[in-house]
Symmetry: C2
Subunit: 190 residues, 2 copies
């Protein structure tokens, strides 16, 4: 819980007693590598705070291939945020890329938590503002850079991240074939 | 103000007295077609709620061309949401596509409003959750559809919108040349 508490305190002044109370609404869970936190077309009734590890948000394309839409690392919230508020079916799958520890907040528990501690709304306001702005910035990158420049951008700005993610997932995320990404990487090394 | 009040009430139960009080923090402004609400590299200290009209969020590419990143219509909030919380310089411009009426909330007034009526945090929590999810869905479309299919998608799902936006802006938004979009449109009609 300490990871979440520290994250909340970045955005909110909140007493230790209230923080402890927040803990009651969460469930700790560990997923093994390749395990699914959420499956495409299944009922979306939970959101996940990543304490440790890495997950991919992905979906099945018409040709049957899995497309990586995004990743979520430590201190990120993830689920299908369109489906979660209405508790409808998810259009995404969420899969652990490595062993991942999460805190799970069900829709019902979120409602109870926000009723007891409405100041947490401010935390979510800031979290989603940041997530929205980061996603808009990603569209900016998709429109500004070639796929090779996009790889260079991620490599330069998030070197530990690009080392950590398997090459075929990074390629999918960047909209490249694995072969093309491998070629770019070799070119950089030589 | 009624447009904003109705929008807030979609997400929040709030008394008419409190709604009236919210009004004190906003400034009404009208922008003519092509006028800028916010300019790239300028100090970002306001956010805008669109009451009527249409704006584009855009940025200058390395080759000097203007790229449309997104549009905002009635009931959408817009600004550079990365720059706004820190009141730093905007990486986007926001320009009226047609005459546009907005309600302006300055950063200082937002802080005062949220201090007086913290329940508005819940409204922003939901607004940004929705905006984040819509933007993630747009990346899904960019990864799933060809540019021609993307145009078909917008045409099918938002026919009034695609009629309203000048062709060169719609082409920029879809990552197409105006000539190519014009070709697709002619093909559809014939």
């Amino acid at each position: 819980m300490d990871t979440l508490f520290a994250h909340i305190q970045k955005y909110l002044k909140i007493s230790p007693e209230k923080l402890t109370c927040i803990g009651n609404y969460f469930e700790e869970r560990t997923y093994k590598k390749k395990e699914f936190l959420l499956r495409e077309n299944s009922h979306c009734k939970e959101k996940f705070f990543i304490c440790q590890g890495l997950v991919q948000i992905c979906f099945t394309k018409e040709n049957g291939n899995l497309q990586t839409l995004d990743f979520a690392l430590k201190n990120w919230w993830t689920t299908d945020f369109n489906a979660f508020p209405s508790q409808s079916n998810s259009q995404y799958s969420i899969q652990a890329v490595e062993q991942t520890k999460v805190l799970v907040l069900s829709f019902e528990n979120q409602e109870l938590l926000l009723k007891e501690l409405p100041e947490i709304e401010r935390y979510f306001h800031h979290i989603f503002q940041q997530a929205y702005s980061a996603t808009q910035n990603r569209i900016k990158l998709l429109y500004s850079l070639s796929r090779e420049e996009l790889y260079e951008h991620f490599q330069r700005n998030y070197p530990q991240f690009t080392q950590r993610v398997p090459q075929y997932l990074l390629a999918s995320f960047l909209g490249l074939s694995s072969e093309y990404l491998s070629k770019i990487r070799k070119k950089r090394i030589s």
